[in-house]
Symmetry: C2
Subunit: 346 residues, 2 copies
DNA sequence: TTGAAAGCGCTAACAC
DNA sequence: GTGTTAGCGCTTTCAA
C-alpha cells in the first residue's frame, strides 16, 4: 500500500520504498530502473516486482535535478505565420511529433510565440536547457533571431522547413521545389501550353521554393521565362483572387495556373468563375497543400500533398538523435517527397 | 559573469550565487524571488539587483522537488475526435490556453491520446500530480473513463465541452443550444416555413445540443415536431451530403436547412446543387462553426461562430483558479455565447 | 526580519 | 554486482 497525505492525495512511492521492498540498496534499484546492464538478473527481477507492486513512477523533478536533463522537448510555433499554414498542416505535424515523443517517453511542451511585444524575453526565459532538452521550431520568421538565441543558450534545435541562410541549422522540409515542379509538369503533360503561376510571398522559403519548381518545369519543357505569367499572392484566398485577376489582365491567353497554396487556388477559382472562364475547360488549376477545402471545392482541386505527419515524425526523431549522439555539432537535413493528388480541376 | 562547463554550455547561476552577490542568506533570497512580504525593502532591492545582474532563472526541477507542484498544465486531446473538430477550433483553443499560461508563467504540456492500444497506461503514467498540476481535457470520448482515472490520482481537471452525465466535473462550453436555436430562428424570421436540420452524431454532446436548439426554435414558433425534417450526419462533408439527399427524398418541400457543422453544410450545398435546387433561392442553409471554408464556399455560408480562443482562455483560467483556491471541491461551469455570421446562403 | 539547516527523490561516484 | 554517500537547487521550518 502506498501512504496518503492528509488531503487524501495518494502519496507516490519513492525509490527508497521500492529498494526496501526488494531488499536492495537505493543505488541498485536506480540501476534497474535505468536499465543498467551491471545488475544480476535475480536482483533485477526483485526490483521490477517491487516496482509493479508499488506502482512506482520515477519523480522527474528529482531526476532532472541530478541529471540536468529534463525529458522534455519544446515545440515552438511563431504565431503570425501559424495562420498562414493550412491548419491540417499544423495538426498533422503535431500528431507526428507527439507520436515520437510518446514512443520515447518524453514530454512535449507547447510554446506559442506571439507578437513582438512579449517576444522580448518571455518565451526566452523558459526555453533553456534548464527546462527543456531541445526544441522543435515551426514556422520561424525570416530574419528572426530566436533560433540563434536559443542555440546560444545551449539548446539543440531542429527546424520544420528549411531556414534560409543558416548553414549550421538542422532541419526537415517537404520537397516544395519538386512538388511545384511536378504540378507544373503535370499541366504541361496534359497539353496546356500557357501555364501561369500564382506564387507565395517571396519572403517565405516555401513561397520561393514553389516558384522555383514551377520555373524548373517550364525550363525543362523548353519554355522561356515570362514575367507576366507570374503573379504573387500572400497565401490567402483573397490574395489568390487578386493575383488571378492580374494574371487574367496580363495574359488572357493562359490556359493553366499552378497556385502555390490551396486557399489561393480557391480564390483563383472564384476569379476565373467571375471572369466567365470554365475550369478545367478553359483554364486548368493545380493547388498546393491538399487541404480539406481542396477536396470539397467546385470543381475539386488537384493539389500537391505534403506528408505532414511524417514531417513531424522526422523532426522529432532528428532532434532526439542529435540529443543522443556524443557530439551534436553535425547539422542534418531531410527533404520529404510530396505527391500530386489529381482531382477535377486539371 | 556566469560560469561555464567544459562543453561550453553556459552554467546557469543558482540561488546561492544570487544570495552571495546580494550579501544575504539563501533563504532570504528565496523569499524575495517568491514575493514573500516579510522582507525589508532594501534587502529585496539588493536581491532583485543580483537577480538581474546574474540573469538568474529559478530551476523548476529543484523547486518542484520541494513544493510538489510542477508549474505545468497538461492539455489532453483525444485523437479520434480531434479530426471531427474543425481545425480552426483546435488551433484557436490552444492559442487561448497558451496565452493564459504565458501570463501566469506556466508551461503547457501537450498530450495526444491515441487509440485504445496505447491507452492502457501510457498517458496515464505521465498524467499525475507528480508531473503536472492539472489538466485541460479537449474532446473526450463519451464513456471514456480517463477523466475519472485522472481525478482519482488527485489531478484537478477542466473539460472543454460539457461532459455528459458528470455532475462533479468543471467545464467550459460554447452555447451550442443557443447558437442552434438562433440559427433556426433566423431561418424562420426570414420567412422560411419548412426548416429541416442535419444533426450531428447523437453520441456527441455538441450534436445533441445543436439538435435541441433547433427544436426549441421550432417549438417557440409553434411548429410541431416532424421527424422527417431531421437527418443525422457524422460532422463530415460526405455525411452532410448523404443526409441532405435523405431529407430531399423525405421532404421535397423543405425550404431551409440548419446544418450542425460547416463541413456537413458544404456537403448539403453540394447535394442541393446536384438536385437542381438553388441556394438560397429554393433552400436557405445555415451551418455551424464558422470555419474558413464557410467564407469561401459558393454561396458563402451563413454560420454560427464560436468564440474558440475565449473558450481556451476560460478553460485555462478556470483551471488555474481551481488550483489556487483552498478547496477545489467546488465544480464550476461556464457557457460562452455564440453568434450568427450572415452570408449569402440564407 | 533574517540566517542556518534539513531535506524533497534521485543519480552517479566510490568503495567494497 | 551492490551498498553507501554526496550532492543536484530549492523551499521552509526553526531559532535567533
Amino acid at each position: 500500500m502506498t501512504g496518503s497525505r492528509a488531503d487524501g492525495t495518494p502519496q507516490r512511492p519513492t525509490l527508497e520504498q521500492v529498494a526496501a521492498l526488494a531488499g536492495v540498496g537505493r543505488g541498485t534499484a536506480s540501476r534497474v530502473i535505468n536499465g543498467s546492464p551491471a545488475v544480476a538478473p535475480q536482483t533485477r527481477d526483485a526490483v521490477m516486482k517491487a516496482v509493479a507492486e508499488l506502482g512506482y513512477v520515477p519523480n522527474q523533478a528529482a531526476r532532472s535535478l541530478v541529471t540536468r536533463r529534463t525529458g522534455a522537448i519544446a515545440l515552438v510555433i511563431s504565431e503570425p505565420e501559424e495562420r498562414l499554414f493550412s491548419e491540417p498542416f499544423f495538426a498533422g505535424v503535431v500528431r507526428g511529433i507527439s507520436r515520437v515523443m510518446d514512443e520515447h517517453g518524453r514530454q512535449l511542451v507547447l510554446v506559442l510565440v506571439h507578437g513582438a511585444a512579449e517576444r522580448t524575453d518571455e518565451p526566452a526565459a523558459y526555453l533553456s536547457p534548464q527546462h527543456v532538452d531541445g526544441a522543435l521550431l515551426l514556422s520561424q520568421h525570416e530574419g528572426d533571431d530566436l533560433p540563434q538565441r536559443l542555440r546560444d543558450r545551449g539548446l539543440t534545435l531542429v527546424h520544420g522547413g528549411r531556414p534560409p541562410g543558416d548553414e549550421q541549422a538542422s532541419w526537415v522540409d517537404v520537397d516544395n521545389v519538386g512538388g511545384a515542379r511536378g504540378a507544373a509538369a503535370h499541366l504541361l503533360a496534359r497539353g496546356r501550353t500557357t501555364v501561369a503561376t500564382i506564387a507565395g510571398p517571396p519572403d517565405m522559403q516555401a513561397g520561393r521554393d514553389r516558384l522555383q519548381g514551377y520555373r524548373e518545369a517550364l525550363a525543362a519543357a523548353g519554355i522561356p521565362d515570362s514575367p507576366d505569367l507570374v503573379s504573387v499572392g500572400d497565401f490567402t484566398e483573397l490574395g489568390g483572387w487578386r493575383a488571378m485577376r492580374r494574371l487574367l489582365e496580363q495574359r488572357s491567353d493562359l490556359d493553366a495556373v499552378f497556385v502555390a497554396s490551396d486557399p489561393m487556388a480557391l480564390g483563383a477559382l472564384r476569379a476565373l468563375r467571375e471572369a466567365g472562364r470554365t475550369v478545367p475547360g478553359d483554364v486548368a488549376v493545380v493547388g498546393f497543400d491538399d487541404s480539406p477545402m481542396a477536396a470539397v471545392s467546385d470543381p475539386p482541386l488537384t493539389t500537391v500533398n505534403q506528408p505532414v505527419e511524417r514531417l513531424g515524425r522526422e523532426m522529432a526523431e532528428m532532434l532526439l538523435a542529435s540529443l543522443t549522439e556524443s557530439e551534436a555539432a553535425e547539422s542534418r537535413s531531410v527533404v520529404l517527397p510530396t505527391s500530386l493528388v489529381q482531382r477535377g480541376s486539371s
